[in-house]
């Protein structure tokens, strides 16, 4: 018996905006119906649904305003399996769970979606200093950051970056090329939030937030929903567009799940990349396009080192000048402009672009040479996931 493969058979995405006057559920339905139509599937074909991280409430609502439950209800779905969990391999834990459900024969066609409303609703630590004078009390691992006045992930991340600069001589003039490359590519992406050309000088002159990180090291908050259909290779085969196969998928957590306890500046990406390569005969030289997380510029550098694009500590010189990551590189990085320029779709936008590129439907931003293999990385820091996709 041929082994059962897990395919990405459909993709869909809502509008991406800084502030869309739309509910999260409405954006989700846009994305999911588009993905179902893209796969050529009917409502009755769907037997599973997975999201990341599941519906949240209170100050975290805007981070994930829609869960499986509401979508099952809205679309009148009858599913055998649904889950929305935070713990796992970064945002890609949703793909990992759907993958497992299909691999074990529990499902044939699974919706995987991620909706975010941070453009309208702001980020989750906004309530740390309530304007009514109430004093917030914290009882999870965030107490060791918030109570020391380290409120944002930018503060946590900046210290990884500083350590990298210290150990390896990395410079802002190098790190900025991740942002410049993203912006250069976004000019060819009509959905990107930031398309105005940007130079390395613009980056160097941008407003500093937490040294050595400036505003242009960070992705813009958005309202958006991105959805996929994952299908079993044993199910219907006449998809509207040739599907893409999940060749390998992995996720990892630093042994200590706190931002200041990791093996700085090494992060969870190292273990995830190792686990992913162990699942496949493909090597980095076989990869044609890289969709590598850039919620912060430095995370992409971490991945480049973890995946083997360059040695540990060598990502600064590797990206300097932008040629080795640009559209003419052996492995172009983030042709859609990444989250830095397209907007913070929080991981799922990278998968969307990977499938688009493997289908060779990237239009003006299609990478050269008829790509067959794409790598997708989400997260980094303390938790992350990575995935290798191949054209069928």
């Amino acid at each position: 018996m041929a082994s059962l493969d897990v395919l990405i058979s459909g993709i869909g995405q809502s509008a991406i905006g800084r502030k869309l006057d739309r509910t999260g559920l409405s954006l989700t339905i846009d994305a999911v119906l588009e993905a179902m139509a893209d796969a050529g599937l009917k409502k009755s074909d769907i037997d599973g649904i997975v999201t990341f991280p599941g519906r949240l409430t209170g100050s975290m609502y805007s981070f994930s305003p829609v869960g499986c439950h509401e979508l099952i209800q809205a679309l009148g779905l009858e599913v055998k399996y649904y889950t929305g969990v935070w713990e796992g391999g970064g945002q890609l834990v949703a793909f990992h769970n759907a993958y497992n459900a299909i691999k074990t024969g529990q499902c044939r066609h699974v919706i995987v979606f991620r909706t975010i409303a941070e453009g309208s609703g702001g980020t989750f630590w906004n309530d740390n200093n309530a304007d009514d004078g109430r004093r917030l009390r914290v009882n999870d691992m965030f107490q060791y950051f918030y109570c020391m006045d380290a409120h944002t992930m930018i503060n946590w991340m900046a210290q990884y970056v500083q350590r990298h600069f210290y150990l390896y001589g990395t410079k802002r003039e190098q790190m900025g090329w991740i942002a410049v490359n993203a912006r250069r590519n976004a000019a060819r992406n009509p959905k990107a939030i930031f398309r105005k050309p940007m130079t390395i000088d613009d980056y160097m002159n941008a407003k500093m937030l937490s040294t050595p990180m400036c505003l242009l090291d960070c992705d813009p908050l958005t309202d958006a929903s991105t959805a996929f259909i994952l299908s079993s290779s044993e199910a219907k085969r006449d998809f509207r567009i040739a599907p893409v196969k999940i060749e390998a998928i992995s996720g990892s957590l630093n042994k200590v799940g706190a931002w200041d306890q990791g093996d700085l500046p090494r992060m969870s990406a190292t273990e995830s990349a190792k686990a992913m390569w162990a699942q496949t005969d493909l090597k980095l030289k076989d990869v044609d396009v890289g969709l590598i997380y850039d919620g912060y510029t430095f995370l992409t550098m971490t991945w480049l080192e973890a995946l083997g694009f360059c040695g540990v500590g060598e990502s600064g010189p590797f990206i300097e000048g932008g040629e080795r990551i640009g559209m003419d590189a052996d492995i172009p990085i983030n042709p859609h402009g990444g989250q830095l320029s397209e907007g913070r779709t929080h991981g799922f936008g990278f998968v969307h672009e990977a499938v688009t590129q493997l289908r060779r439907m990237g239009g003006e931003r299609q990478v050269k040479g008829d790509p067959e293999v794409a790598i997708v990385c989400n997260g980094a820091g303390i938790v992350c996931g990575s995935m290798l996709l191949t054209r069928q």
Binding site: Q159, Q162, R163, L209, Q261
Partner: protein, 135 residues
């Protein structure tokens, strides 16, 4: 409205870390069975799984492992700039945590700089901030 930082919910696991400043010293959990310093606090040793981990006084001296100068005021009335650092304690490479550096010129902070604890009382908590070591 003046900036008021969040404070921890005190419990049996973390109380020593947030309140030992009342005795003028910093305390960190240590495992009496294998000697492992356990931080962040938790009710067992992550190396040998002993349940006997207990707070033990430390020198309060350490070095800057990494740092950042926070420039942006994330909340109204938050005074900036200020320096955040990950400090590694002299007792063990296993113990490092995020803290705020006080009584320091931000431009003079370097990785490896010797620092010592400088408690700041806030409500029922003694925050273990750090300052440059007095030689």
């Amino acid at each position: 409205m003046a900036y008021k930082r969040p404070l921890p919910v005190l419990n049996d696991d973390n109380r020593h870390f947030w309140t030992s400043g009342a005795e003028g010293m910093l305390k960190i959990l240590r495992c009496p069975d294998c000697g492992h310093w356990q931080h962040p606090p938790q009710p067992c040793c992550s190396v040998c799984l002993s349940r006997k981990v207990a707070p033990q006084p430390v020198s309060g001296k350490g070095r800057v492992w990494s740092f950042t100068i926070n420039v942006r005021a994330w909340f109204p009335d938050m005074e900036v700039p200020f320096v955040l650092a990950i400090v590694q304690l002299d007792e063990s490479e296993e113990v490092r945590f995020t803290t705020k550096l006080v009584n320091v010129d931000p431009e003079k902070v370097t990785i490896g700089m010797p620092v010592e604890v400088a408690f700041e009382k806030d409500d029922d908590v003694w925050l273990p901030f750090f300052q440059p070591a007095k030689s």
